[in-house]
Every structure is written in C-alpha cells, then in structure tokens.
C-alpha cells in the first residue's frame, strides 16, 4: 500500500527538488547571519534584516520557502512510513551493509532539525510576524516625526487633556532612552521592549521592526541555548552531506566522471554551511565570557 499514489521516482524527484531549493536558501541565511560578526553595533545586520523584512521579492520567496519546508517535512515523513511498511517483518540481526553515511538517519536528523526549527521560529521568526514579543528597533527620526505630528495637532487644539498627558509621558520616555537603547550611529532606538516601544512611539505606531541583533545577543548568552543550536548544526551537517549527493543521483546526474567531484562538493557544503551558522552563537557566547 502506498500513502500517495505517485510513482516512487516522482516522489523522490519532488523530495530532491524541495531539498535543492532549501540547499540554495541556506547560504543566503548564512551570509545574512555573518553580518552580525562585523563590529559596528549591528548596523550591517540591521540593514540586512530591514531589507529581508520589507523587500517584496524577498517576501514572495519567504512564502515559497515556508511551503518548501512544509512539503519537504510532510513528504519526508510519508516516505519514511511507506518505506517502513515495505518490510513488515524485520531482521533479527541489524543490517551491516556498507552504506552512504547519513542516509540511514535522514528522518532522524530531519526530526532534530524540525525540533530546532520550532525553537528557532519561536525565538526569532514569530517576533517578526507578531506572534511572540521580542525586542524592537525604530528609526529615531521616525519617532520624532510621529511625535512632532502629534505636537502640531496639540498646538492646533485638536487634542484633549488626556492626550496631552500621554504626549508628555511620551516625551519623557524618549528623553530617558540612552546608552544601550540608542544605536552607535544615533539613528536608531534599539533593544526596546514592547512596553518601551509603546511608551516612546504611542500605541498606533507601526513603523517598527524586530531587533534581531539584540535578540540574538541576548539568546546566545545562554549556554544551553548555544548547545542546542550547535547540536542542530551537527545534525544539519549530516543531513546536508547526504542531501547534496542525493540530489545529483536522484536527478540522474551522477555519471561516474563526476562522482568524486560531487562527493567532495557534498563534504565541503556539509562542513562550510553548519560552520558558518555555528560561528555566530559561538562568537556571541565567547565575547560575553
């Protein structure tokens, strides 16, 4: 019995295509992360986050990416169940055949990555969508502009007594922000909690973004958190090593002439990408110590 009525190779091709898209995505994410390493108070990183959060092409790709992740997971689980069903009675002695490293654990490394993804989403991605509260960043000039607009209204006598008090409180709140709440170049208010954000910008202010730079710094000061991330990156490396070579085999591109090249490529990819990801939490943790 098959769970999906699709030729086995078609399913394999789908799995490969979805995986390949994710393979292409990873270097982008990694490159973005590495901006955090620049000692500029997070300016580069903030700019990249702003671009990724607001650019429309990126937003389209974001939806495609999420769909890819979802289908890759669902199809992977379905295939694993189908494959288990193909051998209802197992062997007494576990298989000792020489196999491609990592291939036997794809569903398990995938499972670890799924758990990691949930943790990662709760910590970072959901802050962007507003599902959880994080830390926020706003442009100082935008806050001032919003404040001045309100002040103008007040002068024209359009505001009531209660609003006046709120405006005063807002002014006090903006004045009280200093030191770690202001970016190095003075153009941003950073590391604001939801409360501080509402106090300084008012309740209707929409022009804020999550402050991933400071969120990352805060999260990666936690040893346990860094360990979880590093374990996930090891699983990622194993998953990628098999994944990269598999894509070529699945699409029939594995002619013997290139077999060695593909294998070396897979090893390099499976080391460089997780390492690139691992540098960020490690650096944050080490500079904190």
């Amino acid at each position: 019995m098959k769970l999906i009525k699709l030729a086995s190779i078609s399913k394999k091709l789908c799995m490969g295509a979805l995986g390949a898209f994710l393979l292409i995505f990873l270097p982008f994410h990694m490159g973005m992360n590495l901006c955090i390493l620049r000692d500029d108070g997070g300016e580069w990183y903030r700019n990249v986050c702003h671009f990724m959060g607001t650019n429309y092409i990126v937003k389209v790709f974001e939806v495609v990416l999420l769909a890819c992740v979802l289908f890759h997971i669902v199809l992977g689980i379905i295939l694993a169940i189908e494959n288990k069903m193909s051998r209802p009675v197992g062997y007494a002695v576990a298989n000792k055949s020489k196999t491609h490293q990592g291939s036997k654990f794809m569903i398990w490394t995938g499972g670890i990555l799924l758990v990691f993804l949930v943790i990662h989403f709760v910590d970072f991605y959901f802050a962007k969508t507003g599902l959880v509260t994080g830390k926020y960043v706003v442009k100082t000039e935008k806050v001032e502009k919003a404040f001045q607009e309100k002040a103008m209204k007040m002068q024209q006598g359009q505001l009531k007594e209660a609003d006046l008090k709120e405006l005063q409180a807002q002014y006090m709140a903006i004045q009280s922000l200093s030191g770690e709440k202001v970016a190095k170049n003075g153009k941003y208010f950073i590391n604001l909690t939801k409360e501080e954000l509402q106090q300084t910008c008012g309740k209707d202010f929409k022009d804020y973004e999550p402050d991933f730079y400071n969120m990352a710094k805060e999260k990666f000061h936690n040893n346990l958190f860094v360990v979880i991330y590093l374990l996930a990156f090891i699983a990622l490396g194993i998953h990628l090593y098999h994944g990269v070579g598999s894509v070529f085999q699945t699409y029939g591109l594995n002619i013997e002439k290139y077999a060695k090249t593909i294998d070396i490529l897979a090893v390099i990819y499976a080391i460089v990408i997780p390492l690139g990801f691992a540098i960020v939490p490690l650096k944050v943790l080490l500079t904190a110590m």
Binding site: M1, K2, A7, S8, I9, S10, K11, K12, L13, L79, E82, N83, M85, S86, R87, P88, V89, G90, Y91, A92, V93, A94, N95, K96, S97, K98, T99, H100, S103, K104, M106, H242, G245, S246, F248, Q249, T250, Y251, G252, L253, N254, I255, E256, A259
Partner: protein, 251 residues
Amino acid sequence: MDFTLKIWRQANAKAKGKFETYKITGISPDCSFLEMLDILNEQLINDNIAHPVVFDNDCREGICGMCGLYINGRPHGPDDGVTTCQLHMRKFHDGETITIEPWRAKAFPVIKDLVVDRSAFDKIIQEGGYISATTGGVPDANAIPIPKPKADEAMDAASCIGCGACVAACKNASAMLFVGAKVSQFALLPQGQPEAKRRVVRMIKKMDELGFGNCTNTYACEAECPKSIKKTNIARMNREFICSKTSYTDK
C-alpha cells in the same frame, strides 16, 4: 571448524516462524556455505532431529540467482561480490555464531524456512523487461555496430541475476537497483530504444504496486550486489523516467 547456527524456521507462508539453534562441528574451511547447510541437513535427517532446513539453490556457481541468505546482517554473507553459494566457511571465525535469515520484504513473502517468493521480480520483467522479438533467423552479431564501452556497460547491467540481495539489503526494501539494471541494459543499446519510454514507466509502476519501498540513495544495494551492479544504473533509470514522463504518454 565448529559453528553455532541460528536459523529461521517457518513451516509455511502462514505459520509463525522462529529461530532454531543447531551446533555443527568439523566443517572444512574450504566448504561452501551451502555445502555446510547440506551437512547440517544430513545430520538433521540421519539423527532424526528435525525436518531439513529448506533453502533455495540451483547452479551453485554464482550465475543462476537462486540462492540468497541473509547471513549475520548481510545478504550473501560477509564476502563482497559473491552469492551465498560462492561464500566459503573460511570467511567466518571458528566457533562463530552464524544467524541465517530469509530475505525480508513485503514483496518477498516467506514460503518456507529460508525460501522466499521472488516472483515479484518476474512480474516487473513482464511489464517491459524485454524487447518484443521479431521472428526469423538469428541476426548477425555485428549487424548493428555498437561501441565497445557501451556494449560493456550494457553487459555489466545485464549481469544482474535477479537474486534480490538489493531488496534484502535496502533499509526500505526497494527494488531500484534491480529495475535500474534491467532498464539500463536495454536503454544503453539501440535495440532497446523503440520501447524504452514505455518500459521504464511500466516497470516502475509495477514495482510500486508490488509493495517495494522508495529509494533513499543509501546504496546498501550496490554494496551487497553479488554482481557489483552500480548505483549509476539507478541514476540512469531516474533519467529515463524523467525523459519518459515529460515526452511520452502510455496508452
């Protein structure tokens, strides 16, 4: 050499099987694995201990594809590139416990003891693993010129004896290496071209129907194949499949 044998015994397809342990002594290191089982069976009959252990075998020179036992976690046992009949007892340690199991796959149900029903492979072949023959005289061998490397590659694929070790070794009980070899041996030659697109689609469809698993590129099949069929045959089958699916409608 002395051995302790743990052998899967199952009276028939429906019966519940279990492992039985037998001791065997004084086996020559040059004895083949099947000869060792023959000696065991002789003892079981002569000493009236049990029914003889049933196992598939025929030519005993590694070319018929009948024998096939899952020995200590490996199809065809600890040697590389040989069938069970060509495996010799010198590959084991003296006093070793040897566990012998039948192929395990949904598509290969156990018939008795160590014998499984591999007719699923025949059903796949019936779907297109042939060239529709023309009647008449035998054509000259060199009537259609084929470059030697191509002919060799096709011959390597055609050396598959259909023993089922690939399925037995695969963690998903997938038959991709078998079907890959059977598709490749024709796809590489001009005679196979007219039916190539229909062949690959139909054989894969049948393979899926019969309950073989999906391929996860684990390559245990390649490692255990007694004829050293290469995984590139699976890649070729994937290519053929993509090509067929995008340019051919099966009527």
